[in-house]
């Protein structure tokens, strides 16, 4: 069997025995899907009321033609939460990946593993994918639940189209996995250098900060997320991912991990 697959299966059989990790993978997407749907539901009767004064001017201007002020407000509010939705592929894998190396070290299981005929690349790719795949799948499943909910809760196809437009599809299906890769590699780098899984988890959450900044920037009206920003984000993420993978391999020094960790 492919050694990368062996590592993925090993990680999953260990990680998903941990209820906290399992809860993160299941509960977070459900929560993040529910929040925008609750908003949609609670604002379903806004009708033609004019809420444009409550929205940033840029958004009010590009609100799809044919939508009432209330429907435009619905789209605006849900868009705020879509950025939170994008945090899923950052948050979910942190627990898995941060535990990945430090957990092995604290169990003293890393030495026999490194003594086996597995290359550093196979080991790290396996650990990467073991954390990225559940995060991406959970995000996509969450998004699917959200999309179905949107279809059920809104009667206007224009609202459905605005909420499921290409910008968010790019964000969820392209930027999401790229963010997961960044998050996992950052976590692996951190966990290669610290001894305590809790420290690794806490340090790894730093990777969420830029997205939080984007979220609050949009709420404050300082930044307005549009397709161009998402495309730039994707380009930047591609570069960051390449750098993170490179650094992750550089940081993972078999000898250092075995001889200096106490």
């Amino acid at each position: 069997m492919n050694k990368i697959l062996i590592i993925i299966r090993k990680e999953w059989s260990e990680v998903f025995l941990n209820r906290m990790v399992l809860m993160t993978v299941i509960f977070m997407p459900l929560l993040f899907s529910a929040l925008p749907l609750i908003i949609l539901f609670s604002t379903r009767n806004t009708g033609s009321a004019d809420y444009t004064s409550d929205m940033p001017a840029q958004f009010a201007q590009i609100c799809p033609e044919g939508l009432s002020g209330g429907e435009c407000f619905q789209v605006y509010m849900v868009n705020q939460f879509m950025i939170l939705f994008m945090m899923l592929p950052l948050i979910i894998p942190v627990n898995i990946a941060a535990y990945s190396i430090v957990g092995e070290k604290t169990q003293r299981s890393l030495e026999p593993l490194l003594a086996s005929p597995i290359t550093t690349a196979e080991l790290l790719i396996g650990k990467n994918l073991a954390a990225v795949i559940p995060a991406v799948l959970a995000t996509w499943v969450g998004f699917l639940i959200y999309a179905i909910g949107v279809r059920i809760l809104t009667s206007n196809p224009l609202v459905v189209g605005a909420l499921l437009d290409s910008m968010w599809l790019l964000a969820i299906f392209i930027a999401g996995p790229l963010m997961a890769v960044l998050s996992v590699n950052f976590s692996l780098m951190v966990s290669s250098r610290v001894n305590d899984p809790r420290v690794a988890e806490q340090l790894s959450t730093v990777v969420i900060v830029p997205l939080l900044a984007l979220f609050f920037g949009q709420i404050a009206g300082l930044i307005f997320v549009n397709k161009t920003i998402i495309l730039i984000m994707i380009a930047v993420l591609l570069i960051l991912d390449a750098g993170a993978v490179y650094l992750c391999i550089q940081f993972f020094q078999r000898e250092t991990i075995l001889t200096r960790w106490k």
Partner: protein, 305 residues
């Protein structure tokens, strides 16, 4: 099977392994003895390609540790100082992961073979976390052997085990020796080394000596015979001292401790002489120095130099 040539490993200014040159032969149980911090684990890590040497070289099963690390890892088994099991996974799953990594053909068969051999087949579905120290060590041993390596490195296999578990592990090592595997055994337990090893090396950052336990005893202490008498009289001692074969005689209570080169040849003469002199011999036996005596003597010599 294992050849090291001036193998050296430095960590910053600290020399953990200094110009180690030795050869371990095929099918041999080679004991690697030394105090804590002597560099034994570092040596095992060098030979299993977990770390790279600062200088020198080594060959394991004819493979170069510098250039053929991957092949060496495929061909050796290692029992690390701590079992290092996946505690939440079952015994069988722990073995399955490693059997797959080592590309074992009959994964299920091998798992069953070793779990039965080590007496933990009935606990195969139990998480390793529920195992006693002895059971964990057995499971780790099974993991080290699941791919049937010709060379096995065992780092303190019985440390922290109760006497019963330690005995079982030792019995298992004896079985491995009978199968003709080469075993590199790091241990603190001198009695264990004495019983299991064909040859031993005393090591403290550098190699102090290598030989069979019997030869080391003889080199350091010579061979001694103890003769228990009803009564030791001066004329008995004087008569024995005239014999050329006898190197030294000590009197301890009613015992004569006689140092000689070849007891098999000289003992009958000594006993005949004593009987002719009217001595009442109660017991005769060889005084066997423990490996601990050998170890302490060599370590003290090393410290004083």
């Amino acid at each position: 099977m294992i050849i090291t040539e001036n193998l050296t490993k430095k960590f910053a200014e600290n020399i953990a392994v200094n110009r180690l040159t030795l050869e371990v032969k095929k099918g041999e149980v080679f004991g690697f003895l030394g105090p804590n911090g002597a560099g034994k684990t570092t040596t095992v890590r060098l030979l299993t390609c977990l770390i790279s040497p600062t200088s020198g070289n080594a060959y394991v099963n004819g493979l170069n540790i510098k250039t053929q690390a991957h092949q060496i890892r495929q061909n050796v088994g290692i029992l690390t100082e701590t079992p290092g099991l996946y505690e939440n996974l079952s015994a069988a799953r722990n073995l399955e992961i490693f059997a797959q990594l080592y590309e074992v053909k009959d994964v299920k068969g091998q798992i069953e073979r070793y779990l039965r051999m080590l007496g933990i087949w009935d606990q195969r579905e139990d998480p390793a976390a529920t195992f006693s120290k002895g059971m964990k060590q057995k499971l780790a041993l099974a993991r080290a052997l699941i791919h049937e390596p010709k060379i096995v490195f065992l780092d303190e296999p019985t440390s922290a085990l109760d006497p019963e578990a330690a005995h079982l592990v030792r019995e298992f090592i004896t079985e491995l020796r009978q199968e003709g595997r080469t075993i590199f055994l790091c241990t603190h337990n001198l009695d264990e080394a004495d019983r299991l090893c064909n040859r031993i090396a005393l090591f403290k950052s550098q190699l102090l000596t290598t030989d069979t336990p019997a030869n080391l005893r003889e080199t350091l202490f010579g061979r001694k015979v103890v003769v228990h008498l009803r009564e030791v009289t001066p004329n008995l001692v004087q008569s024995l001292q005239t014999m050329a074969e006898i190197k030294n005689i000590k009197i301890v209570d009613n015992k004569l401790v006689i140092t000689l080169d070849n007891p098999e040849k000289t003992n009958p003469i000594v006993i005949r002489t004593l009987v002719n002199l009217g001595a009442d011999i109660q017991f005769v036996g060889e005084l066997r120095h423990s490996l601990e005596d050998v170890y302490m003597q060599l370590m003290n010599q090393h410290s004083s130099t």
